[in-house]
């Protein structure tokens, strides 16, 4: 599995770049925000919190840049991101892990769903060339994929919560609920997830449909598809194992690349819906100038995206024997 190992190396490299950026941005940006921050906090918050911020920024006036970078790397590796100001005295790791399941359930599930549905629609549309699905849907989804996620979120709140009153307009669950593994809570959480999920689904699906459609059209021109027809195979078999399985390979690479777009959208959707996930907490930390929490969440987002990309790579290796044999 050389291929997967190589991708794992890429994972580590990118993560290192993100951590380094995290360290450098506050220190090297014009006006050195980190030092300014320290000066602003000194005397206003207790020494423990100040120390937490110092860890997060790798700022310690007595150390050289390189030394504090090494200390910072060590801290990150041990999961020490300092203490959150917003949720004082919670360590950042604790808060971050609290937000993660919400985002994984909402954004993770809808992204995978959007990918699968979009791939399916794109495949079937291209298969029935010139049909309704092929001629009407692409232009529509070209336009919806240009919608700002947050705007669609506002519109859906206005329509489905305020005008029609069908669904809750804010939060991840009813505040009167007790959080726990009960049916009532699960149903309530589901009800709160419908609108944000719809928003992400509608805007994200267009891209997958279009790329899968175009991939399939070029795969359909391949000799092996003609050969499959010549063999008299069942059209379903031709569509799935000959056209689909080959057309999805570039789409998996595309999945990795468009993920950043989805993440950006999801952060804003969580913000509009006050959904208690990573994106919402990230923006809260920005608003409260809780830099330790912000940096921890940023790294969490990077790790999540990279993990998803690694999963796409593993899927590629499983579906494409040529990547498996690659040296």
């Amino acid at each position: 599995m050389r291929f997967v190992l190589r991708r794992l190396g890429f994972f580590v490299l990118t993560l290192w770049v993100a951590i380094t950026l995290n360290f450098l941005i506050p220190r090297l940006m014009p006006g050195s925000p980190a030092v300014a921050m320290m000066a602003r906090y000194r005397g206003h918050i207790n020494p423990q919190a100040l120390h937490a911020i110092q860890i997060a920024f790798g700022v310690n006036t007595h150390e050289s840049l390189l030394r504090s970078y090494v200390t910072y790397l060590g801290n990150v590796l041990h999961g020490r991101f300092g203490v959150s100001l917003t949720f004082f005295p919670d360590p950042v790791t604790h808060d971050v892990l609290q937000a993660l399941p919400w985002t994984l359930a909402l954004v993770g599930v809808t992204t995978v769903l959007a990918f699968m549905l979009g791939t399916l629609i794109g495949l079937v549309g291209a298969w029935r060339r010139g049909g309704l699905m092929d001629s009407a849907l692409p232009p529509i989804f070209v336009i919806t994929s240009a919608f700002p996620y947050f705007w669609l979120a506002i519109l859906s709140i206005w329509l489905f919560s305020l005008k029609l009153g069908w669904l809750p307009q804010s939060g991840g669950y009813d505040v009167t609920d007790t959080v726990g593994w009960t049916w009532g809570f699960a149903g309530d959480a589901l009800k709160h997830a419908v609108l944000p999920a719809m928003t992400i689904l509608i805007t994200a699906i267009g891209g997958w449909i279009l790329t899968m459609r175009n991939n399939t059209i070029s795969v359909l021109a391949e000799d092996y598809v003609r050969m499959a027809r010549a063999k008299g195979l069942n059209p379903w078999r031709v569509m799935w194992t000959y056209a689909g399985r080959n057309a999805i390979l570039p789409n998996l690479t595309g999945f990795a690349m468009s993920l950043g777009f989805v993440v950006a959208g999801a952060i804003l959707v969580e913000y509009v819906f006050n959904y208690p996930g990573v994106g919402w907490m990230f923006l809260q930390s920005v608003e409260n100038q809780d830099y330790a929490l912000m940096q921890g969440l940023f790294l969490l987002i990077v790790v999540t995206v990279l993990t998803a990309i690694l999963a796409a790579d593993v899927a590629t290796a499983l579906l494409d024997p040529r990547t498996r044999d690659q040296r």
Binding site: P33, A146, F147, W151, I154, I157, N214, Y224, A256, V286
Partner: protein, 654 residues
């Protein structure tokens, strides 16, 4: 097909829009063609119109907006009225005026980011692709890392430290981080160009690298560069709007995102003023849509396969009188296949083109018929028409004629019935097994699905049969579990032939099955095909452009020219006494191993454009023996001693 629809317009009726450009050939310096291609594409037109409207807004906001966008001079939260087309804000500003003034910032950000990102993408992508080696390795790695870094959160982090992201920060950060997608594609494109002749020619001429990149590479990538620009612009519009909406932009700037920020802050929805949020959002979506539509349209324009063309049968010029076919002089009782009057046409932007024109042929049981001709003469199209396998990338529809096989007319057969017949009775071997075998399935899986489609065999029986046919073509059955890319070229080709013999069909159609192999492998494969044919008794139609290859193997030769039968003779007859000047020309183009040393003669010129074939004999413009009567009228096929030939020199009767 070398059809050039540009020249065809004077003969075929075209829409008043003017000549239809062959968009795949859009080149720099031919802006006229590109412009026409854009005008023909509805999505492109919509995108351009939207963009122009916003451009006008952004250039002349003072003339268009009725009021000062910042002046808080009206009653707050007014509804829609004649004076306030979209009402007023919570602070009593005119919303319409704000929208008009807000256009400028969004557009400038989009264009600036698009420009910066495109410049970087071109710089990195083309350098990486052109320079190769370690430079390429390094640049590609940087590109990939930036590609997967989540940019939006990163910009938020930067904006958070800066308190807000001013215009410059936004443009620089988005531009510096948004180029990677385009760079990746440009690199791939450059790599594929590197080995093209015109670049190697430039290198041989000793041109400087910078000259080659600027004058030879960049112009061929116009559409990809435009796509990069549009993609980055769309991305900039959405990201900037998102940041402004969060209040991380400059809150005093006039922009749609900022309007949304204030709408959210003033709780537009609960205040019963959804227009505060809807109006700027619509503008963002429309500006984004204009970039997305243009991007999509460009995709369609640069790869014509994405568009569907309908064959306009009404415009077909099949009314050309065809003389009744002279009897081939043999009974059709032993025939396994009889093709009668078969015509195939395909659609182009300039109208239908006839690629196979009224072809007749008959194939006896166990016969080996070779079809020869230059590329573009319609031989592959004929082959796939017989097998009912037309479709991209060999577009075309059967527009007339019959294909009698096993007592049925394949042309009229339902897809379902046809499917039952395929592979059992008629199988196909293609030019390159590398492309014809599914790369993600093993050889045995591909044998298995054919077996399952046509026989009720157990897994063990399928395995036994698969091993049997592999041994027939001398491949060790251990290769059953190999994927196509793990086999050598010759083995893949043999494996495909083995697959075609799973059910020992009556007819095997072969489309240049040896052309991907070296000369020695070609020879041994031909010998093997002939042996198998004699052993198993199937008939073969064998398409090739190499006459010498089939000279010892085929029973009869069919020479095709410009979609028509030029000559059909027994192979030995044709080699000894070629009747048609085209056959003579083809024979003169190949060296003979045994014969005396002769000067090789090619055929000057190239096959005619099928969109408007010459009147009379289609070979006349290249024929060394051309006479005035050749171009006077359509030349019919004549029978000469058991051969069929379409040439005035051999015209019989009348």
């Amino acid at each position: 097909m070398s059809a050039s629809p540009l020249g065809a317009t004077d003969q075929l009726a075209t829409p008043p829009a003017g000549p239809a450009p062959m968009v795949a050939e859009v080149r720099p310096g031919r802006g006229g063609d590109l412009w026409r291609a854009i005008r023909r594409n509805k999505k492109a037109v919509a995108g351009v119109v939207l963009l122009v409207v916003f451009l006008v807004f952004s250039i002349f906001p003072g003339q268009i907006a009725p009021y000062d966008p910042t002046a808080e001079i009206f009653p707050p939260a007014l509804g829609v009225s004649r004076h306030h087309l979209l009402g007023t804000t919570a602070y009593g500003q005119d919303i319409f005026s704000q929208l008009v003034w807000g256009t400028r910032l969004s557009l400038v950000i989009a264009l600036a980011v698009g420009g910066l990102a495109t410049a970087l993408a071109v710089l990195v992508g083309v350098s990486a692709g052109y320079l190769g080696g370690a430079t390429d390795g390094f640049l590609s790695l940087v590109t990939d890392v930036i590609l997967v870094l989540p940019i939006f959160p990163l910009i938020i982090v930067i904006a958070a430290y800066e308190q807000n992201a001013g215009f410059l920060t936004l443009v620089v950060v988005l531009g510096v981080l948004g180029w990677s997608y385009g760079a990746r594609q440009l690199r791939a494109q450059t790599l594929s160009l590197r080995r093209r002749d015109f670049l190697e020619a430039a290198q041989v001429r000793g041109e400087r690298k910078s000259y080659v990149i600027l004058n030879e590479i960049l112009p061929t990538m116009t559409s990809l560069i435009v796509a990069t620009f549009l993609g980055a612009a769309l991305y900039a519009v959405l990201t900037a709007a998102g940041l402004q909406f969060l209040g991380l932009g400059d809150p005093n700037s006039q922009s749609w995102g900022t309007m949304l920020y204030w709408a959210q802050n003033n709780e537009a929805l609960f205040a019963g003023m959804p227009l505060w949020a809807i109006a700027p959002g619509v503008c963002i979506a429309l500006l984004g849509a204009s970039f997305a539509l243009l991007n999509y349209a460009f995709d369609e324009i640069s790869s014509p396969a994405l568009r569907v063309r309908k064959l306009e049968r009404a415009k077909l010029q099949t009314a050309r009188p065809t003389p009744a076919l002279p009897s081939p002089g043999e009974t059709s009782d032993g025939a396994v296949l009889r093709v009668e009057d078969l015509s195939v046409a395909y659609a182009t932007d300039a109208g239908p083109v006839v690629a196979v024109d009224h072809v007749d042929l008959e194939l006896a049981r166990g016969e080996f018929l070779a079809i020869v001709g230059e590329s573009g003469c319609g031989k592959s199209t004929l082959l796939y028409a017989i097998a009912r396998l037309l479709g991209s990338p060999l577009p075309g529809e059967i527009v007339g004629g019959r294909v009698q096989f096993q007592g049925k007319d394949l042309v009229l057969l339902e897809e379902k019935e046809l499917r039952r017949m395929r592979w059992r009775d008629l199988s196909v071997v293609m030019q390159s097994a590398m492309n014809a075998l599914n790369p993600v399935l093993t050889v045995s899986q591909q044998m298995e699905d054919a077996c399952r489609a046509h026989a009720n065999w157990s897994k063990a029986e399928i395995e036994v049969r698969s091993r049997e046919v592999l041994r027939l073509v001398s491949i060790d059955p251990v290769h059953l579990n190999s994927y196509p890319h793990q086999l050598s070229g010759g083995m893949r080709q043999r494996a495909m032939i083995a697959m075609a013999l799973l059910f020992t069909p009556d007819l095997v159609i072969m489309d240049e099955p040896t052309s991907a192999l070296d000369v020695v492998a070609q020879r041994s494969l031909m010998v093997q095909i002939k042996e198998l044919q004699e052993q198993l008794g199937f008939a073969v139609i064998f398409v090739t452009h190499d006459m010498s290859l089939v000279s010892h193997f085929s029973d009869r030769l069919l020479v095709m020219y410009a979609g028509q039968v030029a000559e059909l003779s027994p192979t030995k007859e044709l080699f000894d006494r070629p009747l048609h000047p085209y056959s003579q020309g083809l024979l003169g183009a190949f060296p003979s191993i045994h014969g005396p040393k002769v000067r090789l003669l090619g055929i000057p010129g190239s096959p005619p454009d099928l969109a408007h074939p010459p009147t009379g004999c289609r070979f006349a413009p290249r024929c060394p023996q051309v006479e005035p009567r050749c171009t006077a009228a359509e030349v019919p096929l004549s029978t000469v001693n058991g051969s069929l030939v379409r040439c005035v020199l051999h015209e019989t009767g009348t």
